[in-house]
Subunit: 382 residues, 2 copies
């Protein structure tokens, strides 16, 4: 069956097919209310309703397929009710492609100074003005319904790296209970919004397996690995990733949340992951660290002062087509606002091309050599 | 003679023709090495080599014809020698239209903490690192030759508002002497770069006239009024403008430097000015103050929180075509980088359309009523 035929079978949001495999790596297609997503996919992060410094035209030009919005941030500002009255996040921010919203669980964990967790939910303080708020699983879904995202995530409790087995187990149980409540609160397929379960279990492989078992017993349209890239050593992350990803259902999209570097993404794809998001490319862009086909480049280095070559001769992004390293270095050094924009355009284009190239490599059965080629440039993933 | 025929006669940089007049207002055409400029024209300011937060594609989309670069800033960073080795400012920053560079005289006056003025030139300290530098008229031209701008400005000495008649007269004399040295240093038409004289004279009309008399005796390709908008009351500025602009040669472009608001620009056009530049639209954009066909809008106002209408229904810029006031307010409130970009795109588009509409009004002999229409929205220019 051709890929076109496979895509033609995807008629409703949540429909997903793996169209090619190469080892554990998969190339698939996921239908959403705002269109098709080709996987593996990298999703640029638009925390507060914009992917920082760039606009929807830029996103289309770099072939972004789906972007993220943050439930926690948008709930606090401008307020999910305000977004709902605008017609949802798509109408509000002008991005007409698919949007995934996280559940707020991770931000409540990582951004809010004070948390009080009960079986009912989490009380937390706003990182903006210190005001008190209370999230329940139902509230997290209700906010995401207001935002009108294509893919919603269950409200979860993330255990920190270094958490005890006892706490990790407790967080796991809460995550499962809350996932059930999320699923009950949001009827499958309602308003075209699909819902993914988040698996936890910290850094105890048996707890990871228990969480996956409990979550995948519920009828979600996709599943993620949560609670990784929270400060643990790289080998620990890779160990959990490699052991857990294959346990997620083969016929549903698999999402590795908040990860990561180009090599992390390739390791994820190799382990059978379909979806990725990370602030790394956009945040690093603003700090002058750029990802290229020749490796990482620190654009502020003096050696680029008179370098008229493009940042990456193998990149067709607007930045590389138009400007030299000398100009990019000048903008960065002079703290010009255009620096953030041009660097972000390039870094996101790099991550999007990396996953696009990975899709082609999987289709052509040469993912291992593709990955080895990137590793030859970026070194081993340590 | 049709406008097309007039334009066809402009064969070399510096060629200028007034094609239509309406009262003292003029609609003309100026040829430069990088193409034609339709006047009256507003020139967006790209101080450090970029128009803050936007890129050359944005500038083309908003129909910018010519942009500014700052000699003082680019000399300090990245260095005019560095820019020269890149092939000049056009090759460096990716803008392929005309560029005007100021002479550095005003920045040395307004940005440098310490100045020591002699007949030879000005010693000053860098606002970046406090290092000492010395500008002579020849140095200012040499820097602009390195930058490769289409229009260079003479090095001048600007008298502050409130300066004594004695000091203003001294500054006037220096400005004339330095203008002669600039003209001698840059042979007319060399490398396609044309050179404008800057007239001074502070707030003494007889000194203004003396400066104009002395400067216009020299063979410059255009003339400016300098030293206005330096803190004086509006009526003082308008008085000098109205009395001085008509004294500048009718067959050369007339440039009012660093001015101003939409009403200032219309007053300038009415007095016979052809060219304008100001940081006002871009700087105000970054502060959330936006210029529209209905007047000034402070985008942070609470009333816009749920306002789904575009910022300006009569504006066809990317911002107004794509986003609502509610979204622009949200971006501004959340200090998102995209806010600077979208606001800047709109404000510059407003100033560029204002001058485009003024050109049409002059051609159609209805400039006075066009100006009255804008004044009805923005109030009298006080």
């Amino acid at each position: 069956m051709t890929h076109e035929h496979i895509i033609a079978q995807l008629t409703k949001p949540g429909d997903f097919r793996v169209a090619a495999t190469d080892g554990k790596a998969r190339q698939g297609y996921l239908m959403t209310a705002h269109g098709l997503v080709r996987t593996p996919v990298f999703m640029p992060v638009g925390t507060v309703g914009s992917v920082k410094s760039i606009d929807p035209r830029d996103l289309h030009e770099m072939e972004a397929q789906i972007i993220l919005g943050n439930t926690y941030h948008l709930y606090l500002r401008p307020g999910d009710d305000v977004v709902a009255r605008r017609g949802g996040l798509h109408a509000f921010n002008g991005w007409d492609g698919p949007i995934l919203t996280d559940s707020g669980g991770f931000q409540v964990f990582s951004l809010s100074g004070l948390r009080k967790i009960t079986d009912e939910g989490v009380e937390f303080r706003s990182h903006i003005d210190g005001s008190k708020h209370f999230f329940t699983p139902e509230k997290a879904i209700s906010i995401q319904q207001n935002l009108g995202s294509d893919i919603m995530m269950c409200f979860d409790e993330c255990a920190a790296y270094g958490a005890t087995r006892e706490y990790t187990e407790k967080a796991l149980k809460l995550t499962t209970d809350w996932a059930k409540r999320c699923r009950e609160f949001h009827e499958p397929g309602k308003n075209g919004q699909i819902l993914f379960g988040i698996t936890q279990g910290g850094f105890f492989q048996d707890l990871r397996e228990r969480s996956i078992e409990e979550l995948t017993a519920l009828p979600f349209e996709g599943f993620s690995l949560g609670g990784l890239s929270v400060g643990e050593p790289k080998d620990k992350m890779l160990e959990i990733l490699r052991a857990s990803a294959p346990l997620l259902p083969a016929d549903k999209p698999r999402y590795l949340m908040g990860v990561g570097t180009p090599l992390d993404i390739l390791d994820g794809i190799e382990a059978g992951i379909d979806m990725f998001d990370c602030v790394l490319p956009s945040r690093n862009a603003r700090n002058g660290t750029l990802f290229t086909s020749m490796g990482k480049v620190n654009i502020k280095r003096a050696e680029f002062k008179e370098d008229d070559s493009p940042l990456d001769p193998n990149c067709d992004c607007y930045t590389c087509r138009t400007f030299s390293k000398a100009y990019l270095r000048h903008l960065y050094t002079a703290k010009e606002l255009l620096s953030y924009r041009l660097n972000t355009i390039h870094n996101l284009a790099y991550f999007l091309r990396l996953t696009k190239d990975a899709r082609q490599a999987i289709r052509e059965g040469r993912f291992a050599s593709f990955k080895a080629g990137v590793e030859a440039v970026y070194g081993p993933n340590v």
